[in-house]
């Protein structure tokens, strides 16, 4: 029995990675849920918007690195992030102007807009691969570890180490700052309130003199910013590969729907629910279990419920359970 080492192993292999992954999913799901709440369709291009924003940020990061500009212990990508956001927001506004606005004017059904976003997704997908290629790109720099496993062991004298990567710390801090700002904006500012009003009751919002074009524009800018931040944080934590970002669409949608589509707080909760489930179901618990149970009962196998290759199956399973038993999600969003 060694509870302390079990806890440290749990924190190192499950809690910290899932927290960082959850924060990335939550930011992605926030963008999806905002678009759903205001523009009333599921934006399939969101994953590739993340890839696009990350690509722009990477290109500027490389340029900064070649100029010798750095951000100390923090990754240089954070310096390039505002530029990435600006370019992505401009791209999103342009897409809206050229494509989505046409269908909005026709009062197209949501399913048509979903198909339109699918088209936008393929185009963005192609643009990203043309510009940066399909391979893995590594752009993380700055401090590698906040605490390394070795330091932790010498500090505490425990057999297990707890490593917190710099990128994980940056992810969690950035994500919570961004979420805080977003909630402040939606709850306290005139524009934020008008967005909530528009999402709640479009006709009455129009009667109250709220300008729908402005609401839509602000929504795209915020969604693009959230997508870029989520994408860059994910890229710093793991690495950047366009195909992986396309695949992220599933856990992100699962997070948004589990939390309740259209509900920002739900998107955040959903992000963490999905991330913790994925990590916990695919983690090999052998080490943690061995510390807890008496020696004679130590498991021989890996005590892993599913191989990591199946992690998307976990998102899918949760998604289906929620749709069957709680169609409006944990925080009473709109039913799909």
């Amino acid at each position: 029995m060694d509870i302390l080492n079990a806890l440290v192993a749990f924190a190192n292999f499950v809690f910290v990675p899932a927290l960082a992954y959850g924060a990335q999913l939550a930011l992605g799901a926030l963008g999806v849920t905002l678009i759903y709440g205001i523009l009333r369709f599921s934006n399939f291009a969101h994953g590739d918007t993340m890839a696009f924003g990350t690509m722009v940020t990477i290109l500027f990061t490389w340029w900064f690195q070649s100029l010798g500009i750095s951000f100390g212990v923090l990754p240089t990508a954070l310096l390039a992030l505002p530029i990435g956001i600006a370019v992505t927001a401009a791209f999103a506004l342009g897409t809206d102007r050229v494509i989505y606005r046409f269908y909005r004017k026709q009062k197209a059904a949501p399913v048509i807009l979903v198909m339109v976003s699918l088209g936008v997704m393929f185009v963005m997908n192609g643009i990203v691969r043309l510009i940066i290629g399909v391979e893995d790109q590594n752009f993380a720099d700055g401090g590698r570890f906040l605490i390394s496993a070795g330091d932790f062991k010498t500090m505490t004298g425990l057999a297990e180490g707890l490593a917190i990567k710099g990128s994980q710390a940056v992810t969690v801090v950035t994500a919570f700052v961004v979420m805080g700002l977003l909630f402040w904006f939606l709850q306290k500012t005139r524009t934020g309130k008008s967005m909530r009003a528009f999402s709640d009751n479009e006709d009455l919002a129009l009667l109250s003199g709220i300008n729908p074009d402005r609401v839509v524009q602000v929504t795209w800018i915020i969604a693009a910013a959230l997508a870029t931040i989520a994408g860059v944080l994910y890229g710093l934590d793991k690495s950047f590969k366009p195909f992986v970002y396309f695949q992220l669409l599933l856990p992100i949608f699962a997070a948004a729907i589990v939390g309740g589509l259209g509900s920002p707080i739900g998107a955040i909760a959903g992000g963490f629910v999905i991330a913790f489930s994925e990590v916990m179901v695919t983690y090999a618990w052998k080490k943690v279990v061995t510390y807890i149970v008496p020696e004679s009962m130590a498991p021989d196998g890996l005590v892993q419920l599913m191989s990591t290759d199946y992690k998307f199956a976990v998102s899918f399973a949760i998604l289906i359970l929620v749709l069957i038993f709680m169609p409006t999600g944990l925080f009473k969003g709109k039913s799909v």
């Binding site: 005139r190 309130k193 709640d200 006709d203 009455l204 919002a205 109250s208 003199g209 709220i210």
Partner: protein, 236 residues
């Protein structure tokens, strides 16, 4: 007599396809209450929507304070001083009472704290519940939020589409009292009502519509006294 403050004159039109309104005229004088009554499907709400610009007129025109506003959008009419309370979906359910009022004042760039205080004076219960989501309130309180939201622009004309639909008789009486109070502040009121008898009792002017056309038009009292109106529309 001069033109009424707001008049929809000889309005003809519908939602595309067949006409619903046939040369229908609705008007309200400054600070007075005008009520539109009639059987189901008579085009009461349609007439109201026509005055507010929510459907296209094939003939006729709408004038506000002598100015022809037939071509203006509903939003532009709000800016001109018209307030409209739809029959359903007339509040932001997920937002607090206070935020509902703020959204009502969205087009105002000046300080609207005074107007909000006036609305709270008129509906004291809303002040108590101002930080509660409007969707959690009772039917009568939601109607008060809806009226309060429309009053935030300081309209000169307030249009109410069945404000007492689905509320209990006691709440209904209270709502009518409040509506009279609003009219006393100089705001003209144009409303559609199912509860014809009570509505005509407080009306300066009543319009009985049948099949999209004016059948009877008179003061509220005279309509209540008219034996034919009583027999046909008020149940004897």
């Amino acid at each position: 007599m001069a033109d009424p403050y707001l008049i929809g004159e000889a309005m003809t039109g519908g939602y595309g396809g067949a006409d619903i309104l046939h040369s229908c005229t609705i008007a309200v004088e400054k600070g007075q209450i005008a009520v539109i009554v009639g059987p189901n499907g008579a085009g009461k709400s349609t007439a109201m929507k026509a005055v507010f610009g929510m459907l296209k007129l094939r003939a006729g025109h709408v004038k506000l304070d002598g100015e022809d506003i037939t071509a203006l959008s509903p939003q532009a009419r709000v800016a001109k001083g018209m307030g409209f309370v739809p029959q359903t979906h007339n509040i932001f359910t997920s937002m607090t009472v206070e935020e509902n009022l703020e959204m009502g004042a969205f087009i105002r760039r000046d300080d609207f704290a005074d107007t909000m205080a006036q609305v709270y004076d008129l509906f004291p219960i809303l002040k108590q519940k101002r930080l509660q989501p409007a969707g959690e309130l009772s039917g009568g309180q939601r109607q008060q939020v809806a009226v309060g939201r429309a009053l935030m622009t300081q309209p000169k004309v307030l249009m109410l589409d069945e404000p007492t639909a689905g509320v209990s008789p006691i709440v209904m009486d209270e709502l009518f009292d409040r509506i009279i109070e609003v009219a006393r502040t100089g705001i003209s009121i144009l409303m559609v009502e199912q509860n014809a008898r009570q509505a005509l009792e407080i009306a300066d002017k009543g319009y009985v519509l049948v099949q999209g056309a004016n059948r009877f038009t008179d003061t509220g009292k005279a309509l209540l006294a008219d034996p034919e109106v009583r027999r046909s529309f008020l149940g004897g």
